[in-house]
C-alpha cells in the first residue's frame, strides 16, 4: 500500500501557507497520501487542520504552495466543484448536513456529481443496508437526528459520491464514547474498501490505532511525521495527546 517511489502520490501538498487576512494559519506544510492509505493529521484546536482540508477542497486560497492530485493535476487551478469531480469527498467538521433536507436528499446531493440516477440510487441503497437506522429515517429532516446518526449521514453522503480520497475533519468530535468507537471502526472499514483517507483528529489514541501514517501539526507547522506506531511513541505526542500512558 505504501508508495513505492514510482507511482505518484494520490495527493501531494507542498509548502502550503494559508492566512486569514494577515493572520497566518498554516505555514509551509508538506504532506502526501498514496492510493489506499489512511493518514491522520493530529493537532490541537486551532493548529490549522481544518484550514488544510478546506484548502485542498478549493474553499480557501493559499498564499503559497502546491497541491497535486496524481502528481500532475494542480488543484489550485480548480474550483471546488471541479476538485470534487476528480474524486475527492469531504466529511466536514461538525457534520454540516443540510439540516432542513431529508436524509435521502442529503445523500442524493452527495451523489450530485454522478449524473446517472440509477447509480446514485444503488449507492444510496448500499448505504441504507450498511446503516439500517438511516434507512428507517430516510424521509426525516436530517437536523432532527442524533449526533451519531448525523455523523453517519455525513459519512454516507461523502461515500455516495464514489470518492477515491476522503477528507475527514474530526469525525469523532462531539460524539458519545461508544459512538466514537463505531466511527473509527467505520473509518477502518471504508479504508479497507480501497478508499484513501486523510483524516484530521484530536482523538490521537483512537486515530493512531487505525492510521498507517501520522503527522503532528502544531500552530500551522508539521513537527512530527512517520508511521503511526512510531509517532505514537514520540514524547511530543504523548505529552500533548495521550496523557503519558499510551
Amino acid at each position: 500500500m505504501r508508495g513505492n517511489g514510482l507511482a505518484p502520490p494520490l495527493l501531494a501538498i507542498e509548502g502550503l501557507a494559508v492566512s486569514y487576512g494577515a493572520v497566518p494559519a498554516v505555514e509551509g506544510v508538506s504532506l502526501e497520501i498514496h492510493p489506499g492509505e489512511l493518514r491522520v493529521i493530529l493537532g490541537a484546536n486551532g493548529a490549522g487542520k481544518t484550514t488544510i482540508i478546506k484548502t485542498v477542497l478549493g474553499l480557501l486560497r493559499p498564499r503559497r504552495g502546491r497541491i497535486l492530485l496524481d502528481g500532475t493535476q494542480d488543484l489550485l487551478r480548480c474550483r471546488p466543484h471541479q476538485i470534487h469531480r476528480m474524486g475527492i469527498a469531504w466529511v466536514p467538521e461538525g457534520r454540516q448536513l443540510w439540516s432542513t433536507l431529508t436524509v435521502l436528499d442529503n445523500l442524493r446531493l452527495g451523489g450530485f456529481r454522478e449524473r446517472d440516477e440509477t447509480v446514485v440510487a444503488r449507492r444510496i441503497d448500499e448505504m441504507f443496508q450498511r446503516f439500517p437506522r438511516l434507512g428507517e429515517r430516510r424521509n426525516q429532516i436530517s437536523g432532527s437526528l442524533s449526533g451519531g446518526e448525523q455523523q453517519m449521514v455525513a459519512i454516507a453522503r461523502a461515500l455516495v459520491s464514489g470518492p477515491r480520497l476522503l477528507l475527514m475533519d474530526e469525525p469523532s468530535l462531539g460524539l458519545a464514547p461508544l459512538v466514537v468507537r463505531d466511527v473509527f471502526a467505520l473509518v477502518k472499514e471504508i479504508n479497507a474498501m480501497g478508499i484513501a483517507i486523510l483524516m484530521v483528529e484530536q482523538n490521537a489514541r483512537q486515530a493512531l490505532k487505525v492510521a498507517d501514517w501520522a503527522y503532528l501539526l502544531e500552530t500551522g507547522r508539521i513537527v512530527e511525521s512517520g508511521p503511526a506506531a512510531e509517532v505514537a511513541g514520540k514524547e511530543s505526542v504523548q505529552a500533548v495527546f495521550l496523557g503519558g500512558h499510551a
Binding site: K54, L57, G58, L59, R79, P80, H81, I83, H84, R85, A89, W90, P92, Q96, W98, S99, T100, L101, D105, R108, L109, G110, F112, R113, R157, S161
Partner: protein
C-alpha cells in the same frame, strides 16, 4: 359572511401576486446572498415586455404576451446577475444592495423616459366578465391572475424539492461551501436561480397588467417593499413560508379594507408584520445564519 368570503377572495388574488415577487426576492437572498432591489423592476420590465409583445402580435393573446414577459424579464434578470451581482459577490450585503438599488432607479427612470411617468393602458388580453363562484364574485382576470400565480408558486416548490438543480439550490441556500465541495457549480446555479425568479416575475407581471388594465414604470415600488417585508417576516429557511406570508398579507389587507378602511390598509398590515418580527426576529419559519 359574504363580505368576508369576498374579501378573502380579493386578498388571495393580490396576495398570490405579492407571493410571486416575494419568492423571487427570497430566492435571490437565500442563494446569492443579495438583497436584489431591482427585482420588482424586473417585474415591471416584464410587464412592458408583455405589453409590447401583445401590441406587436395582437392575435397572440395572453399566452404569447406572457412568453414575452418571461423572456424580457428573464433576459434582464440574467444580465443584472452577470454585470452587477456576480462581480460583487463576496462583498457585504450593503454593497450589492446599493448596486441593485442603483439598477432599480435606472430601470424605473429609463422606462419613464420611454413610456412617460404616468400609467399607460394595458391591452385587454382577457375579458372583463364576472364569474360567480358561490357567494363570491370575481372577474375572469382576477381568477386568471390567482390561477397563474398559484401555478408559478407550485412550480417553484416542485423545482426546489423535486429536481436535481433545485436540490442544489436549497443546498447552496443553507451551506454554499458544502454544496460546492459536493460538485455543485455555485455560479451556474446562482444564474439559474435569478433567471427562474425573473422569468416567474415576468409572467406574473403580464397577468397583473391585464388585471388592472394598466402598466407603469413605477409599479415595482408597490410590490417591492411588500415583497421584501414578507421575506423578512417569513425568514429564508423555507421558500414556501415566504409565499404563505405574502398570501396572508394580501388577505389581511383585503380584510382591513373591507371591515375598517382602505386608508388604514397598509398601516395595519405592516404593524402586524412588524409585530411578528418582534416576537420571532429570525422570521416565522426560521432563517439560516448568513
Amino acid at each position: 359572511m359574504d363580505l368576508f368570503l369576498q374579501q378573502i377572495a380579493n386578498g388571495l388574488i393580490i396576495g398570490s401576486t405579492y407571493a410571486v415577487v416575494a419568492l423571487g426576492f427570497a430566492l435571490a437572498f437565500s442563494v446569492l446572498r443579495v438583497i436584489h432591489f431591482a427585482h420588482p423592476d424586473v417585474f415591471m420590465v416584464g410587464m412592458f415586455a408583455g405589453l409590447v409583445t401583445a401590441e406587436t402580435f395582437p392575435f397572440g393573446g395572453l399566452a404569447l404576451a406572457m412568453l414575452g414577459g418571461l423572456i424580457g424579464a428573464g433576459v434582464l434578470g440574467y444580465a443584472i446577475e452577470r454585470t452587477v451581482i456576480e462581480p460583487l459577490r463576496g462583498r457585504d450585503v450593503l454593497t450589492t444592495l446599493i448596486a441593485t438599488l442603483g439598477v432599480a432607479i435606472m430601470l424605473q427612470n429609463g422606462m419613464a423616459l420611454i413610456v412617460g411617468p404616468d400609467p399607460v393602458p394595458y391591452p385587454p388580453l382577457l375579458p372583463r366578465r364576472f364569474l360567480d363562484i358561490g357567494p363570491v364574485s370575481v372577474t375572469v382576470r382576477q381568477a386568471a391572475n390567482l390561477g397563474i400565480c398559484l401555478l408559478l408558486l407550485a412550480f417553484v416548490s416542485i423545482y426546489v424539492r423535486g429536481t436535481r438543480i433545485g436540490r442544489a439550490t436549497r443546498a447552496i441556500a443553507e451551506r454554499p461551501d458544502v454544496a460546492a465541495a459536493f460538485g455543485v457549480d455555485v455560479a451556474r446555479v446562482c444564474q439559474a436561480t435569478i433567471v427562474v425568479a425573473s422569468a416567474m416575475a415576468g409572467i406574473a407581471a403580464v397577468s397583473v397588467g391585464t388585471l388592472y388594465g394598466s402598466a407603469s414604470a413605477f409599479v415595482g415600488l408597490l410590490y417591492g417593499l411588500k415583497a421584501f417585508t414578507c421575506m423578512l417576516v417569513a425568514g429564508n429557511r423555507y421558500f414556501e413560508g415566504v409565499a404563505a406570508v405574502a398570501i396572508f398579507l394580501g388577505v389581511l389587507e383585503a380584510l382591513v379594507t373591507g371591515y375598517v378602511s382602505s386608508s388604514l390598509r397598509d398601516a395595519v398590515a405592516f404593524l402586524v408584520l412588524i409585530g411578528v418580527l418582534y416576537f420571532r426576529p429570525n422570521g416565522l419559519f426560521g432563517s439560516y445564519q448568513t
